[in-house]
Symmetry: C2
Subunit: 295 residues, 2 copies
């Protein structure tokens, strides 16, 4: 496991629990030490990890980091044997996933384009959803690993890229739904409606979404500890818009949501929970958010 | 029941089934005849209905029509006795609902501000959700009627206006979610992903919403028969934006979604199902939508 952030650490623990010998590496030595305490084996670099492993799951933040840990200084690919498998589970541009499959093929290696959905809690439980595409040989090699980390594996095609396309479109909706939830709760507060009542009524009505039900409780409790951060959606909606831009395809709703996440990051909330996008509306209108009195 | 459109006809049938003597009126005589065939009693005008009824449920399209059927030529209010109840269940601006409560009070009448959620199917089943506010006496008088038409009644306060505020905010989310679903499916088609696969994967993922699950099947089947029309969201997101405008409150995400419904109406799809907003993306990009080959 390369990248022991919240998702990578959870995936690593699921693999340890399933009986695999699991090497993990991360630029943060504290994350590697925590993983070793959980039964994993620390590796000093992706290259060291590659010397021991036939399968590398990559769970770093973005495509640039994926490139670095695979092909950069002390990257794992030159250290891995021909026939080895890379499972790319970061959210990356579909075009990057397609090119990555070709580059690994030149090293005689396989790629499974396999973004994840389900969040940190399900990463730790081994009950993620995987949106995967790649050659049948890549699926065959990945199967025991996917069984250990996922409740549901969608096989979306024989070529890398399709998995990341589906994940990209999922992130379009997820990002718009978080921004809309924040906008709706903020308007409700401005109009004098109790936000807890709004949450109850709308959760049971046609205006509900998975994100509304999952994120609005963070607003109600005033707890913006990041499970997934504003900066993740600055990045992911950026991938959505860049992907559409390359296809000359307009996305006015996603673009409006992206601007709200950018505004939240501009106002200093980039590292807070993604639903801190509601603080953009607060900064403009002066509404009181739950928990403000205690701050 | 004043207004025997899809929602009003369903509510009327639920009341007949519950044993009430139910008068119904509508400007379309065919709707009145159909209601009479279902066990209701036709009324020639709101005034005639008012002479027979102590409770009037209003389910017309917008605030202008509510005003007309209550206070206009042959309106029901002058024909109803003091102490009678109006249940306003159309989606109307919260400020209109507040003023309506005062105007009916001047006639010695009660108002329950009681917008509905749940759609046409649940109107016919008597399993709607009601978002209601009004005086305790209005709730007491309305209770047997609400029991017959609704599975769930939210009591949101003692003043008309709060019910419509909550409904308005629900419509903000519902409208944004439909536009986002259309945008996401259209991008998927442009990127070469099977939209049926997108529907399956995203319905089980964090990008899902009630509207995504309910409306995307209409795109997949190519059936834009209106259950709720594009024009309804041109109106309802208009109410959302006007309500926020009156509060000097910005709604960039809802505004972007509203523009997409306006674009769909401009392109001639106003009377089609609301998810025909996807045809805006088709008109711009030339993507094939499911069912096109058969058209």
């Amino acid at each position: 496991v390369i990248g022991l952030g919240a998702m990578g650490a959870g995936v690593g623990r699921s693999l340890v629990r399933a009986g695999f010998t699991v090497y993990g590496c991360d630029v943060r030595s504290a994350s590697v030490a925590a993983f070793a305490a959980d039964g994993g084996t620390g590796a000093a670099s992706p290259a060291e990890l590659g010397r021991h492993c036939a399968i590398a799951i990559v769970l770093v933040v973005n495509a640039k980091q994926v490139d670095e840990v695979l092909f950069g200084h002390d990257g794992c690919v030159p250290a891995m044997q021909r026939g080895s498998l890379v499972i790319a589970s970061s959210t990356i541009p579909p075009a990057f996933a397609e090119a990555l499959g070709e580059r690994l093929g030149e090293h005689g290696m396989l790629l499974l384009d396999a973004p994840l959905s389900g969040g940190v809690a399900r990463a730790g439980d081994g009950t993620l959803t995987v949106m995967a595409s790649g050659e049948p040989a890549a699926f065959a090699a990945a199967e025991p690993v996917l069984d250990a980390i996922a409740e549901r594996v969608y096989r979306l095609g024989d070529q890398p890229g399709t998995g990341s396309k589906v994940k990209t479109i999922n992130q379009l909706l997820a990002g718009v739904h978080i921004a809309a939830a924040a906008e709706a709760i903020a308007l409700g507060i401005r109009a004098g409606v109790d936000p807890a009542v709004l949450y109850d009524v709308i959760s049971a009505s046609a205006g509900s979404s998975w994100m509304f039900q999952n994120r609005v409780p963070h607003i109600l409790s005033g707890d913006y500890t990041p499970l997934s951060a504003v900066n993740i959606f600055v990045k992911d909606l950026g991938i959505v818009l860049d992907t559409a831009h390359a296809l000359t395809f307009p996305l006015p709703v996603a673009a409006a949501a992206h601007q709200q996440f950018l505004a939240a990051a501009a106002a200093g909330h980039g590292a807070e929970d993604d639903v801190a996008v509601v603080k953009v509306y607060q900064a403009l209108s002066g509404i009181d958010l739950p928990g403000d009195a205690a701050m």
